[in-house]
Symmetry: none
């Protein structure tokens, strides 16, 4: 099942009654949904145009056309890698390997399909302009934050990540106007991460979120929202693919950043690489 449909299914429970009905219709007839106009969609799902419009906004799309475009793109993807596989007891090693490969590849391409390039562009602009960048996240998302920090530091950007969530807030509280705070959370509901982001926002920092698709507190609070698609519910087995998808987005951000200031950053990257190498050599081995 597609990342967007999966996201709809996951958040269906939190929706209003009519939106649930609409969600149901979309889940059952995704192809019709992508092709019909708002009136048709409203009629067929037994709702109203207003509800359809709100439904799309609530899912964090820019509107119906945006929803259509992105779902359409996802549905178009070749059915070779199409269905996410679940992993259960006593699977053969071979089937496990295949399932994981499929899930990872799928979540990377789903994430790419629904990526909002304008939001990416904005994010890159903000990151470039920032004097300082703070990263927030815990557990699996903390690892993604740490990864991003490493990359940023390597090109000489002052980026901070504290594994301790109190320190995350402490750090947020010293941000200044124009700095950037990046909140990473699969669910988009992690309390600690949300708090740190709010604090950063109060300080006047530009806030950026990287969460799963759909509506959630963290992305709602953020100025710039990025989404990583993933499949599974509830983060139990799920954070494997979601983490890969998040790292994928981090790589895109980072590469775009480097690409924009190629002449500044690439020598930096090269230098940090060489310095580490040299330091290690001198230690005598």
């Amino acid at each position: 099942m597609s990342g967007i449909l999966q996201a709809i299914r996951e958040s269906q429970g939190q929706m209003n009654r009519k939106e649930q009905e609409l969600a149901q219709y979309v889940l059952e007839h995704p192809h019709e949904a992508v092709q019909s106009s708002i009136t048709e969609l409203a009629d067929r799902s037994g709702t109203s145009t207003a509800t359809v419009s709100r439904f799309c906004r609530n899912l964090m799309f820019k509107g119906l056309s945006d929803f259509r475009m992105k779902l359409g793109a996802e549905l178009a993807v070749t059915p070779t890698h199409s269905t996410y596989q679940d992993i259960v007891a006593g699977n053969s090693l071979h089937s496990i390997v295949q399932a994981i490969e499929m899930n990872h590849i799928r979540s990377i391409s789903d994430t790419t399909r629904q990526l909002d390039l304008q939001a990416v562009q904005q994010a890159v602009g903000a990151l470039r302009a920032a004097k300082r960048i703070d990263l927030y996240g815990v557990a699996t998302s903390g690892i993604v934050a740490l990864d991003f920090q490493q990359k940023l530091v390597r090109i000489g950007i002052m980026a901070h990540y504290w594994p301790d969530s109190h320190m995350q807030i402490t750090s947020a509280s010293s941000l200044e106007e124009g700095d950037v705070a990046v909140a990473i959370s699969y669910s988009g509901d992690t309390v600690e991460t949300y708090d740190a982001l709010l604090c950063a926002k109060e300080r006047g920092a530009v806030t950026l979120s990287l969460t799963k698709f759909g509506s959630n507190r963290i992305s709602q609070a953020a100025d710039i929202r990025l989404f990583a698609s993933s499949l599974e519910e509830g983060m139990r087995r799920g954070d494997m693919a979601s983490r890969i998808a998040q790292l994928h987005v981090v790589d895109i951000l980072f590469t775009a950043l480097v690409s924009e200031d190629f002449d500044d950053y690439v020598p930096q990257l090269e230098q940090s690489f060489q310095q580490v190498k040299k330091y290690r050599k001198e230690k005598g081995r």
Copy 2:
């Protein structure tokens, strides 16, 4: 090139002057074209909305939205270029996104292709049998190690990762026979990681390596060798894909481990998930 773009190029010669100009714009900026409204498209291509509308009908689409939908769907299909893409200065955001997607997907499937299932099986056996598991790695590979540690701890396995490489050796020196030491290093040459692995080996631990493909000191020293493929290119820009590939292998190991002892581990996973949730709830939000 996509079928629709190809068709446009082929019939471009027979078009009216303004439609040719529009066709040119679409050929040069297909992604902008699918996203913009008719007014934007008319403006950017230096034509009028009437021309845009007619253009679509002339190409036998039902209208602009139909054209958008179908071109969008075509563009969405991942181009299956088999070669890794390099990222250079001033790339368009879109080409960056495509290149990264391609590289990541490619490195995941390459890694899967060359994975030695017997080695994986041995690794899983050793990990299951271990009283304690030590993980070694620095920088990007340290993140992979940390990720693996988190996963193992979640199913109740005593796994250690120290970001400090002296502590890695310290930890290694207290391993015992039958414990497992996992060394993660893209190059396979990282001094600190190598030292920790050697130390673990001396203590009688089963040693496991996760490195790039080919011969390198760390994998030579290890009892069980796993390889993650990636771009060659010396680790500077390459470590994006290599890290994804390494995490992919980690996921395979972890899933295989869980799958073998499903009834023990899955409740553990579930419990650790619920405990975190409960603890967070109690904090009152």
